[in-house]
Symmetry: C2
Subunit: 209 residues, 2 copies
């Protein structure tokens, strides 16, 4: 009944996400956005509503993906404690690359949380979700006898959220990958690992040049 869109909404959001992640909300103009997404002024306007709305779509999408990335820690072939280490290594490698920038999630949290209630509540909810995923993984490791029973799984969960957020910020400022990996491995010392857990982890480091 009507002319169909010539663009893929999800694709546009992905491109917008990249643009906003590069230069932040205030630092990204509509023109830049149009060039990055390839669509025309009016198309953006009646498909999304405006700059702010498109930003929120991109931001929510990024936040969901960030939580999902942590959620994957719950499944996998590795032992629970090995999956935690893998996650830390993954973040260090991603954020430690030469031209790595903080994710839109982190960038929006720092830029807008203080002034935009929706951003703030989304960020807080995402952090809580991530914490719970980490905590659940730690609890699983406890059940498997890899971590001492006296460990506080919830506290360790939020702790790893903070560590990863810190690694992301440091990495975005040019701190080397090897340093980030050190931070990740050092943070694992906060976990009271049992002998069994140490056995499951193996020697530890591979080749991460």
């Amino acid at each position: 009944m009507a002319r169909p869109r010539t663009f893929d909404e999800a694709d546009v959001i992905a491109r917008a996400r990249k643009a906003f992640a590069d230069t932040g909300f205030a630092g990204t103009s509509l023109d830049t956005l149009l060039e990055a997404t390839g669509l025309a002024r009016q198309s953006l306007y009646n498909a999304f509503g405006g700059k702010k709305e498109l930003f929120m779509r991109a931001f929510l999408s990024d936040a969901a993906e960030a939580v999902e990335a942590v959620e994957s820690i719950r499944h996998g072939e590795d032992s629970p404690i090995g999956r935690i280490r893998s996650q830390l290594v993954k973040v260090a490698v991603e954020q430690g690359s030469a031209q790595a920038a903080p994710s839109l999630f982190t960038k929006a949290a720092v830029e807008l949380s203080a002034r935009d209630a929706e951003v703030a509540s989304t960020v807080e909810a995402a952090f809580e979700s991530m914490s719970r995923h980490y905590a659940a993984c730690i609890a699983e490791a406890q059940a498997a006898g890899e971590i001492e029973a006296y460990a506080d799984a919830d506290a360790l969960g939020t702790f790893f959220c903070a560590v990863i957020e810190g690694m992301s910020t440091l990495g975005g400022s040019g701190v080397a990958r090897a340093t980030l990996l050190d931070i990740g491995f050092t943070s694992m010392a906060a976990i009271p690992i049992t002998d069994l857990g140490r056995e499951h982890l193996g020697t530890g480091d591979g080749d991460w040049s």
Copy 2:
């Protein structure tokens, strides 16, 4: 020989720091800046050179202060390990207040490090300074027998940088003070503390409601 200024340069920078910390570089207009600092357009221009220059002054000042705050960890009446804990508690309390925003240092690091070389190098240098201060304090604690000799002081130093940066980001997004304190205390579990060290720390938590 000439008309003296009616404003205090340091005071202007302090106000500008607050304004930039609130809304970021791109998000703070010259008009906002003029209102915040109280000076006239031209005064700002011929005293500092422009928006970017004033921002750099504010940013460098904030970075220096941030390093200085960590540097204070080297001196104090407390035992070395106690001073580390105090620092973590201090950050948690500051960043955990209801209307806390990330410092200009953190905000600039996230917003501009990827695009501005001077910001990036300043941030990196500041992180390295902070790391060294933490590492030195840990080494001191090792010398005092509070921390096991096998601990890697350098790795722990950068680790605490990451933790504090993470706490700052989380706090700015509305995470509760108690949660931040938990993160701080949990992070200390990464330090292999000796019995003597534990003794010096005492029971641990006071009243931080």
